[in-house]
């Protein structure tokens, strides 16, 4: 029998191809030119604009929107890329509702911000569709920089260094470059192989070599990289995932959400990707929402996000929460997992209700069992494989200034480094700023 959302257990092909295509199409379809002009016209060109302040990469948003409004989206794209070379991906994945669009004066006034993210996508798409790279390399400096991690931080750092005339080699552990852009973003936010296309476009600057399948600590060492290069930038992200610490954590059906999201992004045919009938996702952040929504879109019958605190404490933005509920995901709050039940394969997750007692989370003793064939853990990621020489603080590489680590000649940025939100756009800003600092140090 053809599987359906009702099919018991974990099954692939619960929905037909047309249904899957529809479910995994662009969450925010690109603007047509006229739509872009109308949207751009809503921008007030604020003085010292709050949106610019809110952008971790400080893109001159009023200027690029005005450039769209006046019919020069390519100029707009250059304004964006000058600050954020991954402006194309950020236009798709930035939680704009908690950044630029949250502080847009029209959001404050009318509850309807200028759609900055979509306008940014319009501009960047236009330039990338022309296959134009807006920057050229400076004369070669003869300096060589090694970067670990071809994610947003590493790529941004590499591009800025290459622009300055340095030669860059990026080592990445995975098969493909892109980091979380390639492996960690919900499919409906980055469709059509955009992450790889963006990397290819970025590399057009020249002077950057990427070595994939090259793992720090296995294929290369920090000492070795330091010895062979004038500087090293670490942007390897957080490779570890937190475990529940419960018995049965390794039961069939109990998985980490990050792997699920990566598998989904890498799947050639979504109809071959198995998903449970009843899915439970534990966590309250973007990863939890991405895993839950995509489970539902793959055809799971019931999907529940279980979060230990109140809904107002969820790290996922209100927009993300509403996206989840609109797709049919149930959000259950004030529950913490206490047991996984099943006989070899998962059948239910047991939660204890919680309450906030003077800011401290406490179990009430009352429990509930939620049927589950599949349970995804989305309770945070951890730094793995950081070289021992580096000082670690709060579970991350300690940095000062523009990403300087405790080891001279070694910089770090992105999720693996201390400080800033774990967002693509923050990683880009940190990579870019570290590159400027490396450049200054190398040319001193």
């Amino acid at each position: 029998m053809t599987p359906s959302p009702r099919t018991d257990g974990i099954a692939a092909g619960r929905l037909d191809e047309a249904h899957l295509d529809r479910n995994f199409s662009d969450l925010h379809p690109p603007y047509e030119p006229h739509e872009a002009h109308v949207a751009a016209d809503r921008c007030y060109f604020c003085h010292d604009a709050p949106c610019m302040e809110a952008c971790p990469t400080s893109i001159d948003i009023p200027l690029f929107i005005r450039q769209i409004a006046t019919g020069t989206p390519e100029a707009a794209a250059k304004t964006i890329f000058e600050q954020n070379i991954l402006g194309g991906m950020c236009a798709r994945v930035c939680p704009t509702e908690t950044l630029c669009e949250e502080v847009c004066v029209r959001e404050v006034a009318e509850g309807k911000p200028v759609e900055i993210g979509r306008l940014q996508r319009y501009a960047t798409d236009r330039m990338m569709a022309r296959d134009v790279h807006p920057f050229t390399r400076a004369a070669p400096t003869g300096k060589r920089v090694a970067i670990v991690g071809a994610g947003p931080a590493g790529l941004a750092c590499a591009h800025r260094l290459a622009m300055k005339g340095h030669d860059v080699v990026i080592h990445d552990a995975r098969e493909k470059p892109g980091g979380l852009n390639e492996y960690g973003i919900a499919s409906y936010k980055s469709t059509g192989g955009f992450a790889q296309a963006e990397v290819d476009w970025l590399l057009e600057i020249g002077g950057i070599t990427i070595q994939t399948g090259s793992v720090l600590g296995r294929d290369v060492t920090l000492e070795g990289l330091k010895a062979d290069h004038d500087a090293v930038f670490l942007g390897m992200g957080l490779a570890g995932v937190n475990a529940l610490g419960l018995t049965g954590d390794d039961m069939a059906g109990s998985l980490d959400a990050v792997s699920f999201i990566a598998d989904l992004r890498q799947a050639d045919d979504l109809a071959t990707l198995p998903v449970g009938r009843d899915v439970v996702v534990i966590g309250g952040g973007m990863t939890a929402v991405d895993a839950a929504v995509q489970s539902k879109l793959l055809g799971a019958q019931t999907v529940t996000i279980a979060y230990r605190r109140g809904q107002d404490r969820m790290a996922a933005s209100v927009f993300e929460q509403e996206l989840a509920t609109a797709k049919g995901v149930h959000i259950l709050t004030n529950v913490q997992p206490v047991a996984l039940h099943g006989n070899g394969k998962l059948e239910a997750v047991e939660f204890e209700y919680t309450e906030d007692r003077d800011g401290r989370l406490a179990g009430t003793g009352e429990t509930v069992r939620i049927p589950a064939d599949q349970c995804f853990r989305a309770i945070g990621q951890t730094l793995e494989g950081a070289p021992e020489a580096l000082e670690i603080a709060g579970g991350k590489i300690a940095v000062t200034g523009a990403g300087r680590t405790s080891v001279a000649g070694v910089w770090a940025g992105g999720d693996c480094a201390l400080g800033g939100d774990d967002l693509t756009v923050t990683a880009v800003a940190e990579g870019r700023d570290a590159a400027e600092d490396i450049h200054a140090a190398l040319m001193a």
Binding site: H34, H37, V38, D41, R42, Y44, F45, C46, H47, D48, A49, P50, V105, R106, V108, A109
Partner: protein, 434 residues
């Protein structure tokens, strides 16, 4: 509901909204649709002399400028007068007038500037039964190159001469339509009155080029790589038209001369503004060309509602009511002092007022912690730019200072009315009797 009936030169129409002589009034089919939609009157598209009709270009006739969401703000045209035979137009006019006796029907005319031409056409127009004629001394393109339209309207002596011929050979009302492409609109109006015109109508379109095609290096609309100036109309020209209307309304030599107001009238409010500025009725074109004839329904309902709210029961109660308040700059009260005030609850902190004032005006707005914008009364000259650039209506207002209060900018007490003619800095000041 207020009575919108207007009596303009003895011509009655159920409302003051007429369609101007233009493409929408070129033939029976359109005019019937217009009357069915509710228009009070129609000025038929300009008739030319008997004989082979004019020909139009076969490329684009219009150009436009747009605001957000392609809202049409200004339209430019290079279409000429009617390109249909005179007999056809006259027959159609006769039929239409017979079927719509309660609506105003006016014939717009443009023939060569010689007495014989006017003498020949006027009796034929009279036979249609139309209520009056409008002399097209306004079209700025094409026909003006042939000594007609604006070429006549730019020479007051010609206006007077032709008007006199019309009054001699035609016994119904004669309206003279004026061109704005002239330095002082009062002169052609005075000439029309001297010639015996019953009314003037204005404005006709303004010489314009809306765009230049930067690839072709040619003006738009482009005809085979070349362009010619057209006539500009639509919402963008309203302020120019209102000013010209006001000049004629308050000029002692033309005061009281009936005016039919034309120029960018798009809503009931625009119409009301022209009427209080002295117009007995209004003529509309671009709004109908943009939205279709149905727009008149909004104009009718809007004007009625406003009249009801203000207690006006007929249009003559407000026509011309704003004219006494149009004056020369020199008579404006220099002791009227206002200060901008920002409503902090309405402010959305965009900072446009600050950028405008700081960069281009008087540095009279302070940007404080937390994006709070406040007016510095010591610097504010009440220029109103902040009000104009603020995206929130009524967020910034101009608050009048009480008499006797001290203006913190000048240190001077707000006094009684005094104008430039009395000001000590004016070398020509009228000295008060010692």
């Amino acid at each position: 509901m207020a009575d919108l009936t207007t009596d303009f030169l003895g011509i009655k129409s159920p409302n003051p909204f007429w369609l101007a002589s233009a493409p929408p009034t070129d033939k029976e089919y359109n005019v019937r649709r217009a009357f069915d939609a509710g228009w009070g009157g129609v000025v038929w598209k300009t008739l030319g002399a008997e004989g082979p009709p004019v020909v139009n270009v076969n490329g684009p006739r219009y150009g436009a400028i747009w605001g957000a969401d392609r809202r049409l703000l200004g339209l430019n045209n290079i279409e000429l007068i009617t390109d249909r035979p005179l007999e056809v137009n006259l027959e159609e006019m006769t039929r239409v007038k017979k079927d719509y006796p309660d609506r105003a029907l006016i014939a717009s005319i443009m023939v060569p500037c010689d007495e014989a031409s006017w003498k020949a056409i006027l009796p034929r127009v009279a036979e249609t039964g139309c209520d009056g004629i409008e002399l097209n001394f306004g079209c700025p393109h094409g026909m003006s190159e042939r000594g007609m339209g604006a070429a006549v309207g730019q020479v007051p002596e010609y206006i007077q001469m032709v008007t006199e011929w019309c009054k001699m050979y035609y016994d119904r009302p004669v309206i003279v339509k004026l061109t704005p492409n002239i330095t002082d609109i009062r002169k052609p109006a005075e000439a029309a009155r001297a010639g015996g015109a019953d009314a003037v109508s204005l404005i006709n379109t303004i010489n314009s080029i809306t765009h230049v095609d930067l690839d072709l290096m040619a003006p738009e609309p482009t005809i085979d790589g070349k362009g010619s100036h057209g006539g500009y109309c639509g919402p963008a020209v309203k302020p120019i038209a209102l000013s010209m209307v006001s000049e004629i309304a308050r000029n002692p030599a033309t005061h009281g001369l009936p005016i039919s107001g034309i120029g960018g009238i798009t809503t009931w409010r625009d119409a009301a503004e022209f009427m209080v500025m002295g117009c007995g009725n209004v003529q509309v074109c671009t709004a109908a060309m943009t939205y279709g004839f149905k727009v008149v329904q909004e104009m009718i309902s809007g004007l009625s509602q406003w009249m009801d709210e203000k207690g006006y029961t007929s249009t003559d109660q407000f026509i011309g009511k704003a004219v006494p308040n149009v004056t020369d700059w020199q008579y404006l009260n220099l002791n009227y002092v206002t200060k901008a005030k920002i409503d902090q609850d309405a402010c959305i902190s965009c900072g446009r007022c600050y950028a405008a004032c700081e960069d281009t005006s008087h540095q009279a707005i302070a940007m404080k912690e937390g994006r709070v914008f406040e007016v510095i009364d010591e610097e504010c000259v009440a220029c109103n730019l902040c009000v104009n650039v603020c995206p929130v209506e009524d967020c910034i207002t101009m608050v009048e200072m009480d008499k006797g209060a001290v203006d913190p900018r000048t240190g001077v007490e707000v006094g009684d009315y005094a104008n430039w003619t009395q000001h000590p800095n004016n070398p020509m000041a009228v000295k008060a009797a010692e």
